[in-house]
Amino acid sequence: MKIPFKYILRNFYSRKLTTTATVLGMTLVVVVFTVAFMMGMGIRKTLSVTGSENNALVVRKSSQGEISSIINREVADIISSLPQVAKSSEGKPLISTEPVVIFIQPKKGGGVSNLTVRGVTPVAFQIRDNIKLVEGKTFGFGSRELIVGKSISKRFNGVAIGDKVKLAGDMWTIVGVFDAGGSGFDSEVWGDSEQLLSAFQRTSYSTITFRLSDPKQIEQLKLQFDADKRLKQFTPEIERTYFSKQSNQTSGFIMGLGVFITLFIMVGAIIGAMITMFTAVANRTTEIGTLRALGFTRGSILISFLFESLLLSVVGCVLGLLISSTMSSMEVSTINFQSFSEIAFNFTLNIYIVLGAFAFSIFMGLVGGFLPSWRASRLKIIEALRAA
């Protein structure tokens, strides 16, 4: 292109009001798009680091999530005697039989939300080695005590150390806060598995997690479950994979909704860009005629107006990304549709979201700018010059 870039740039600057309005339209699209994806990615990231690659988690096949899974003690005994369950140095199977329930607790900003309570056995801390106590002490096995994940202690009322919460009619004391390294466990409350079972008068667990003697055996273990009539209603999965899959529905919904809203406001932003560019072409008709007379081609005119339109959308995109990036790593929470409880996560801005935002913006700039630019390039020189 022969038309100097400063011509494009100065025209872009010269009509401050329309440029600003159009750019902000583009910015809005980019913010909505990136925020939705930053949420989705944040949820995925949180749940994809939940649990270990070396553990297997067993759930009832028909269950949607841990809370709707039921595994009775007989099945638990069969599983704990499987050769694929790793053993401790004392020869004990590394298995944690866990009831998972939810309860309602008031949030700090007002309102209430669901919290997941996981009953664990002492082995749980051995097989999930990234759990660290950061405050207080751990719950005593055999007592009605609970410890809370660090995201919970930040977001909920009545869960500070020393506070008591009502669970299954009994009062339980919060005795400690743990850090699960930014994983989904940070949004859970943990207590003694047996105490929880007795409080809820339950005889069965929700899920069973054990250390695999060899994580590669998982596929073969699945087949073994299917072949065993006592186990075929259940399925083992690598623990981390299980939680990672639990994020798909929620993150997929959020990102899908994000794309949907983005497409809607995108139509508005494209029309805005189109109007701005049509106005620019109308205001600069004589200028276009002059450029053409001087020897600039239709192609140069087309490209220069397209560039101007792209500038609107790309500047809007950069601005949108700047706004979104201030939210990056901000902690937020939402209900996870599959566990029905609150999960805290960080907005996560990654290169794919950035590239996606640019792709969206370039699309908007090209689509919005094409008709006006085409019109500018099709003007007849003498008619354009006569427009003065």
Partner: protein, 231 residues
């Protein structure tokens, strides 16, 4: 030798089913280094004729040859290249690009040449010096008077050193003093730089500065020509 040879060109516009004749078999020959003024009442076809000579409009019939090139035979993009090399444009309302400085406006046609930035700089400065505005090169058009803007436009027209300059009422928007300055400048381009100039004007005192004045009337080029021996 003739720089511009117009042979029996006609131009018509069809409006609805009506055919409106604008130029009727106009034949005109302009020698190299000539300074010709076209006069005539409004609507007589002056601008149309000038545009055809400059290659921004095409005749309905007839031939136009400029410096040996039959411009009717050129494609649109060839014509654009040809204009960039051969023709300098001066308009009644200057037609400077408002967002560009005087310097950048003059540089614009040079963007179409293979010249380097440094070479362009020399050409721009030379052109601005010719029109006496070297000290205003960083001004934008709206910081200049009408006369100054037209001088910048003249600098733009001569920046690529074209052989032919076309000017459509170059003094039409100016006061007497500025108009006089512009005409002095055009005379100088003609005498000193040997430019062939075709100028449309309503202003008798501007026409007086040309060597030859031709009259158009309702699309016909009148046979007589006035000659001024001020060359």
């Amino acid at each position: 030798m003739s720089a511009i040879q117009v042979d029996k060109i006609a131009k018509t516009y069809s409006r609805d089913k009506l055919v409106v004749p604008v130029l009727n078999d106009v034949t005109l020959s302009i020698n190299e280094g000539e300074f010709v003024a076209l006069m005539g009442p409004s609507g007589s076809g002056k601008t149309t004729l000038l545009n055809i000579i400059a290659g921004i409009d095409r005749p309905t019939s007839g031939r136009v040859s400029v410096l040996g090139t039959d411009i009717a035979g050129l494609s649109e993009s060839e014509l654009a290249k040809w204009r960039a090399r051969t023709v300098g444009f001066i308009f009644q309302f200057y037609n400077l690009i408002p967002v560009l400085t005087a310097y950048e406006n003059v540089e614009l046609p040079l963007m179409l040449t293979p010249l380097t930035k440094e070479q362009r700089k020399q050409q721009v400065e030379t052109a601005l010096r010719v029109v006496g505005l070297a000290d205003r090169m960083n001004h934008s058009p709206n910081q200049l008077s009408g006369g100054q803007q037209q001088r910048v436009a003249i600098a733009r027209a001569i920046a690529t050193d074209p052989d032919i300059i076309v000017a459509d009422e170059p003094t039409g928007d100016l006061d007497k003093v500025s108009a006089n300055e512009i005409m002095t400048l055009l005379e100088r381009l003609n005498k000193e730089f040997k430019k062939t100039i075709v100028m449309v004007t309503h202003d008798p005192s501007a026409a007086e500065r040309a060597h030859i004045v031709r009259h158009l009337e309702k699309g016909d080029l009148l046979p007589g020509e006035e000659r001024h021996e001020n060359a």
